[in-house]
Amino acid sequence: MKLNLLRLAILGSILLFWEAVAASGLLFRDVVPSLLKIASALGHLGVNADFYHNLSATAGEVGISLAIGGSIGVVAGLLLGGSRLLGKSFEPYIHYLGPTPKIIFFPVMIMWFGIGPGSKIAMGAISCFFPVALITAAGMRQIDQVLIRVGRSFRASTWQMVTKIYFPAMRHPMLNGLRLGFGVSVIGVLLAETKLSNRGLGFLVMQSYSQFDMPGMYALLLVVFALAILVNAIISRLGGLAVSEI
């Protein structure tokens, strides 16, 4: 209760500080627009059909990239974690490629998939592949070996081993991988949209910026924040359901 009050107070003072800077006129016009202006820009976004069109474009790209990059990442992680040889031979590459900024692949992706949604989806998928693959491989190695022996002693098929032992035993690392993968695929897609595109939230942000519509830009950023928090909360909730047995 006290903690919540403290948190509210922190948020309140940040907003107050922002408003004070905006009102002081110390900074160039609209670099720090008044909260009221941002709120009204948000209101405009809310009734703008074009905004929803771009929002759904970005959401679709993120969703598809998460599905593609995530599932390839899970399969790759299972192979890397399941086979000592594969793990030892491939993992250094994935490990060192993982932290490189994926945006350097963007020109290649444009050549392969065009400037439409294809290249954005590819960027998101590449971004999310690495953390998902690495976390899945690590999770697989942490499975209690005796559980695998139990499965084998009951003659579980490979499919039964994967669905009834590996996946449930790895549920926590895999949900974490999904969360990280979602975060980086949003980054990949938005970044690609700000570079070269004609739709999506990243495109709208850059459009507002080039027209120096700062309240509109901040409003868009708030929308992106809010969506990211919402999805994260949903994934955590799924994870929460999975951990309730402990």
């Binding site: 022996r149 139990v150 002693s153 009951f154 003659r155 009834k164 035993a169």
Partner: protein
Amino acid sequence: MNANVEVLRVENIVKRFVTARETVTAVHHVSFTVAQGEVLAIIGPSGCGKSTLFNVIGGLVKGDEGSVAVEGRTMSGPDPAIGMVFQEESTFPWRTVADNVAFPLELAGLAKKERIERVHHYLQLVGLKGFERHHPAQLSGGMRQRVAIARTLAFAPKVLLMDEPFAALDEQTRLLLGDKVLQIQQELAQTTLLITHSIAEAVQLSDRVLVMTYRPGRVKSIVDIKLPRPRTAEIIGSKEFGQYVAEIWNDLRDEASLGMKDAEAHLPKAD
């Protein structure tokens, strides 16, 4: 027990481990049989290859020589005829108690109705009725091991194969659970092979005790335990019980001290 009907036949098992430096023979020409309804305990010092033997008989590890047969059928790999109980914590933490016991039945594709009936029956047998919906983390270590035993029994194996099933438990729980297992074994007339390092446990539960030598693990002696059946926990206080413990310790002492010397020889020494 019907000593005339042989259920498990283990013949000439040899298992070697090859490392870069040396070849270690863990199990060396071990043979024995277990009759219908009989409990055979295998006892030996640490490092005598008990757990290796467990894995080879269960089919999880391939032996270099020899064969394992149940009711005349030679095993090749894990088989429903042999049910294994492990010494480690082996329940699935994400499944409820009932779903843990149902696991092998699910794999085999049993109808839901029959699964529920069997799970109910075996949970009652191990004394865990009323805990169906609990998760393993909510139970004590002894209860979790009973879940693991029920899970293996639910598959109705011809031979119950247990590797130090009470090793992870404290002394009092071990005694109580040992008694519980004894009652279950007698009720089902379950043919059982128990691997243990506790002499008291071996005498309490079994009809014969097989003593293994220290590395390489061979059969040193087989002691008949002629304590009356059905047995209860009171048997531990009897004079005969003490005599059997002493007799087995006599056979085991030299092997155990060999193992201890070997372990000490491998410790780094200060100059």
